[in-house]
């Protein structure tokens, strides 16, 4: 929240470089690989120190797989992850161990992610023990401090997970992630299992921890409201591809990729008048299978702007200025000047500019899936 979103590149803490993760589908006696699930397919993204990057998308878009690859719970099929200047994409378990201190994960389900047979003290303290930090007395003090930091009481040290409510358990999960003072926390849907009132408490906690400990977050969530609140930049994924990357506020006021537009318009707004007034783009059908993703632009079968080119050519991720990248042949909310500049650059396929689909005057055609109040 504190970092300038423009400052990526040099100050990057994590760089995800053309990362691919395919899961093999094996069949038969020989367990031969017959097909592959293209969970993450060529994603490049860098996360600056102190920044929060939100990853959004429907289920099955590869956002969790990407997060797990970053903390190396999974080994990428191709591509690399560079953490603080070191390539970690191919490191073995032993070489990874010292790095585990630097990156931690908070999981979605507070009921499944804590061992029911262990006391809170050892759940939070075990990371310290494993990494050989302090003696048992020092560790105990440290754990008690951590419990206080996340809003629990030090007396909870000897309790078991079942004695806590969902929100409290999630706090234990956060304390455990914080124990080793990591630089990066990958939070995979950390609030989606919680009630709204508890959800707000949790988001506020994560934000104040970020300020206190200088944390960098990769925040995976499907709730676009939550993501907007916590993120500096947001990456939208669809079927394993990064389709749009933008500063948080800009994504909501000026989505370029039609998928983002549809996603935003589908979010129910707790305001009866607004929700009646706005235009709803209801996407037809479901997300296609990541085993056989559609040709060209992967979104084309559900896209209302799709033309022939979308079926044949995959759109490259193009920079539309202001750190706003999108992969689309028929970008929305882009004025003529930007479009000409972008089309002139090498990476863009020139014939993709289908005249009829271009927004001519940005003020007229600009799309605001979330209407202004009043």
């Amino acid at each position: 929240m504190s970092a300038d979103p423009q400052q990526n590149g040099d100050g990057a803490l994590v760089e995800i470089q053309s990362l691919k993760k395919y899961f093999p589908i094996r069949k038969g006696v020989l367990q031969r690989e017959v097909e592959r699930v293209h969970a993450v397919d060529d994603v490049t993204l860098s996360v600056a120190q102190g920044e929060t990057v939100g990853l959004v998308g429907e289920s099955g878009c590869g956002k969790s797989t990407l997060g797990r690859c970053v903390v190396r719970l999974l080994t990428p099929t191709e591509g690399d992850i560079v953490f603080q200047g070191t390539s970690i994409g191919r490191l073995g378990p032993r070489a990874l161990r010292p790095l585990r201190r630097e990156m931690q994960m908070v999981f979605q389900d507070p009921y499944a992610s804590l061992n029911p047979r262990k006391r809170v003290g050892s759940i939070v303290g075990d990371p310290l023990k494993i990494h050989g930090i302090g003696n048992s007395k020092e560790r105990k003090t440290q754990v008690e401090e951590l419990l206080e930091t996340v809003g629990l009481s030090p007396e909870h040290y000897n309790r078991f997970p079942h004695e806590f409510s969902g929100g409290q358990r999630q706090r234990i999960g956060v304390a455990r992630a914080l124990a080793l003072r990591p630089k990066l926390i990958v939070a995979d849907e950390p609030v989606s299992a919680l009630d709204v009132s508890i959800q707000a408490q949790m988001i506020n906690l994560l934000e104040s921890l970020q300020d206190d400990f200088g944390l960098t977050y990769i925040f995976i969530a499907h709730d676009l409201g939550v993501v907007r609140h916590v993120s500096d930049r947001i990456a939208v994924m669809y079927l394993g591809k990064l389709v749009e990357l933008s500063p948080a506020e800009e994504l909501y006021s000026r989505p370029i990729m039609p998928y983002t537009e549809a996603l935003l318009s589908a979010v129910p707004i707790p305001d009866p008048d607004l929700s009646e007034k706005r235009e709803r783009i209801v996407l037809e059908g479901d997300v296609p299978s990541p085993i056989h993703p559609p040709s060209g632009c992967r979104f084309h079968p559900r896209c209302r702007y799709a033309t022939d080119i979308c079926q044949q050519v995959e759109p490259p991720l193009t920079d539309y200025g202001n750190g706003h990248l999108a992969a689309c042949h028929h970008p929305l909310n882009v004025d003529k000047a930007t479009l000409e500049r972008v089309t002139a650059s090498e990476r863009h396929t020139p014939d993709s500019a289908d005249e009829s689909a271009l927004p001519e005057d940005p003020s007229k055609t600009e799309s605001h899936p979330i209407p202004e109040k009043g």
């Binding site: 009132s197 508890i198 506020n204 909501y252 996603l263 707790p270 305001d271 009866p272 109040k373």
Partner: protein, 342 residues
């Protein structure tokens, strides 16, 4: 005047457990007319699902105690025999559950499950029932219903399974459709499809809908009247516009304020309701929301009744604050700005 379908009067549901008596529902009143959509909002443990399940007699058991009445077209469902309830259930009042993954039987074909529901209530041949199943799948927007009727649930995606559940619920043309968090397990894009579908089918089948959800956004879209529940009680009840634009209870303000909203500028910190929901075994004395309420005062040790305290008729709430105080106090909360601690 539309026909009055349901009249719930002072419903109380208590469960005896090892730890003590759980007051799951504690004095709920509402009515439902044909064509109307009632939204029940609340957090987990607020009693919204128990209310719905009690209407269908799904909470019956040796450890359950009831008080009050559930009048369905004048007939008290609480005091009906299990046999009579069975003929109501599914035929006149149907339910859609939250999790489409677990509410279909994985070892039977989707079509057979729909046929079973049809033939349980109507004396028709297997062939007719199957024809109707295909027709229903078509109505809920499943492509190629003639082929898909022979699919197993695992061959359907989450959204399609929920559509199949809706088809099953509508198979006997019920008067009332109870949807318990029908879209919570689904992605937003699929949620939008399902909400649109329920809205359309409600008119096609001329039913009333009870929509249970924790998502105020969903309620804003579909409901006509709203019931806000907390700790087994209704804390606020009113028309959709009244509840959203003139909320009277501090809990409702908190709910409205704590959602990160896309239609507003981002607040620095989110408003959050302090503490966690009340235990239903040891309920706090007086107003149940008092321990978490930032505006609680002396009088709150005595429980306020659900009354109409403002000019707008039919807008009820359970709060001792005066109308002027409420207007003044709710502003910051509703803006979603945090006041003080996390």
């Amino acid at each position: 005047m539309a026909e009055r379908l349901l009249d719930v009067k002072d419903l109380k549901v208590r469960f005896a457990t090892e730890d003590g008596i759980v007051h799951a529902v504690d004095g709920v009143n509402f009515t439902l007319d044909r064509g109307e959509v009632l939204g029940i909002v609340g957090e987990s443990g607020s009693g919204k699902s128990v209310t719905a399940m009690t209407i269908l007699g799904l909470t019956r058991g040796t450890n359950t105690q009831y008080e009050g009445e559930i009048l369905y077209k004048g007939e008290d469902l609480i005091r009906q025999s299990e046999g009579r309830l069975r003929s109501v259930r599914g035929a006149q009042i149907a339910m859609i559950f939250q999790d489409p993954m677990t509410s279909l039987n994985p070892v039977y074909k989707v079509g057979d499950q729909i046929c079973e529901a049809i033939r349980a209530h109507d004396d028709v041949s297997g062939r007719t029932a199957r024809g109707r199943a295909v027709e229903l799948l078509q109505q809920v927007g499943i492509p190629n219903p003639r082929q898909r009727v022979d699919d197993y649930p695992h061959q359907f995606s989450g959204g399609m399974r929920q559509r199949a559940m809706i088809a099953m619920a509508l198979s006997c043309n019920p008067d009332i459709l109870i949807a318990d968090e029908p879209t919570t397990a689904l992605d937003v894009t699929i949620q939008a499809q399902i909400l649109e579908l329920i809205d359309k089918l409600k008119d096609d089948f001329d039913s009333a809908v009870i929509m249970i959800t924790h998502d105020l956004g969903v309620v804003a879209e579909v409901a006509d009247q709203i019931l806000v529940m907390y700790a087994g009680r209704v804390v606020e009840h009113g028309g959709k516009r009244d509840v959203f634009y003139d909320p009277q209870h501090p809990y409702t303000w908190g709910l409205l304020g704590s959602i990160p909203r896309l239609d507003r500028p981002k607040p620095k910190r989110l408003h959050s309701i302090q503490g966690s929901p009340a235990s239903l075994i040891n309920l706090p004395q007086g107003c149940k929301f008092r321990p978490r309420c930032p505006h609680a005062f002396e009088k709150c040790h005595e429980e306020p009744g659900l009354e109409n305290r403002i000019e707008q008729k039919g807008h009820l709430d359970r709060c001792w604050l005066t109308v002027e105080e409420k207007k003044r106090l709710r502003v910051t909360t509703l803006a979603g700005e945090a006041v003080g601690a996390a």
